[in-house]
Amino acid sequence: MSEFTHDVLVYGPGFLSAAWTVLWLTLVTIAVSWIFGLAAALGQRSDMRAVRSVAAFYVWFIRGTPALIQIFIIYFGMPQVGVRLSPYTAGVLALAINSGAYVTEIIRSGLSAIPAGQTESSLALGFSPRETMRTVILPQVFRIILPSITNEALSTLKNTSLLSTITVVELTLYAQTLISATFRPFDFYIAVAVIYLVLTTILTQLAAFFERRYARLY
């Protein structure tokens, strides 16, 4: 049995499960970050000053501080004020809050790219502003922002490696554990990089599929 085959058989299942962890962490984080991003982007356009201020503060604070510090605040900091979260919950929450700020800016730019006439023609037919946003504006925004939102999803996927610092057993932490036992950092970090590459490629292909689908509608 070659050494490579041996490695795959021994460490493969562990890597597979760590990769699976990365994948679901990413998907959940993306879903939550879109909710945050949409809420904040619409909040920025609110009639209420207080709502606009909260949205602006959110984007300003998150974009201006490192993701790692945000993770530490939520996982290590919050218990001090009585909120204790599991590493996974804290990790998803921190990454979603982080990515949500960037999604906010992406959606904002998408919204500003839609001509005012699109809203006006919908309102003129008797739709409410909410219905107009949901059925006329957002579908068009989604198509415009798909490339940027794909980039942001890739960032989120790669940022899950930061969660190794708060004991989430994802790819990076799993590799570190193996390395401290085997003293083979080159082999295992390369293996981790390749697996990340496979995951990001899958995500990119998925986005490309959606982009083609939406392009056909025009």
Binding site: P115, E120, S121, S122, A124, L125, G126, F127, S128, Q140
Partner: protein, 271 residues
Amino acid sequence: MTQDAPPPLLKLRDIRKSFGTLDVLKGIDLEVAPGEVVSIIGASGSGKSTFLRSINAIEPADKGRMDFEGWTFDFDRDSRFFPTDRQLQALRSRIGMVFQSYNLWPHKTVLQNVIHAPMGVLGQSRAEATEVADALLDRIGLYDKRDASPMRLSGGQQQRVAIARALAMKPRLMLFDEVTSALDPELVNEVLQLMASLADEGMTMLLVTHEMSFARDVSSRVLFFDQGEIGEQGPPSKVLRAPESPRLQQFLHSILHDDLRTATAKKGPTL
């Protein structure tokens, strides 16, 4: 409270609107009888588009009263007749509006553009809305484009779809805001013909237009807007042929002059 004439479909009293310190509408009064076709002409910046957009409150007036189909609204915020959001939506669903830039929705097909509001606003079933839409698309000669993207149509075709989209709501009043201004000259007629046929059928219409021959031939009344007020109004034969005020004379002269210049440039007899 006239007893002989039919009651007006639309009655506006002292409509006022300003942007900052600029008074765009300085108290407009207007009554429109059912079936009337009213053309609004005037220089750019005279408030004619703002006025049209205030009627369906896409840009609500700051002050003024409006009666339409049993509704009475007062656009003064303190009035108890100040319209609620729901009332405005109901009002808009009864008033069709067509824009200069068509504003069709590019993510929907032609048919989807036409059935969207009847389904979403009036609660019609897809079958019901599609039946009405197909008849309208057939009427405007674009039935074969029903599944195409509106972005693949010419400007004139897009504008006709926009008119069909408004008509699908069975409006009592249609507002046309310079609907041929963005069109290539050879595409203007197909849209004007559709509008003329609507007028023939008795549709009540208010249109802001630069098409003087259309205003002359189709409208029952012409309003000349001048600096936020109705400067002069009356039947087209009077307003367009025998203008009284110097400002209207000057305006008509400049329009005519433009037409002549265009005609010369095209080396074709358009007048």
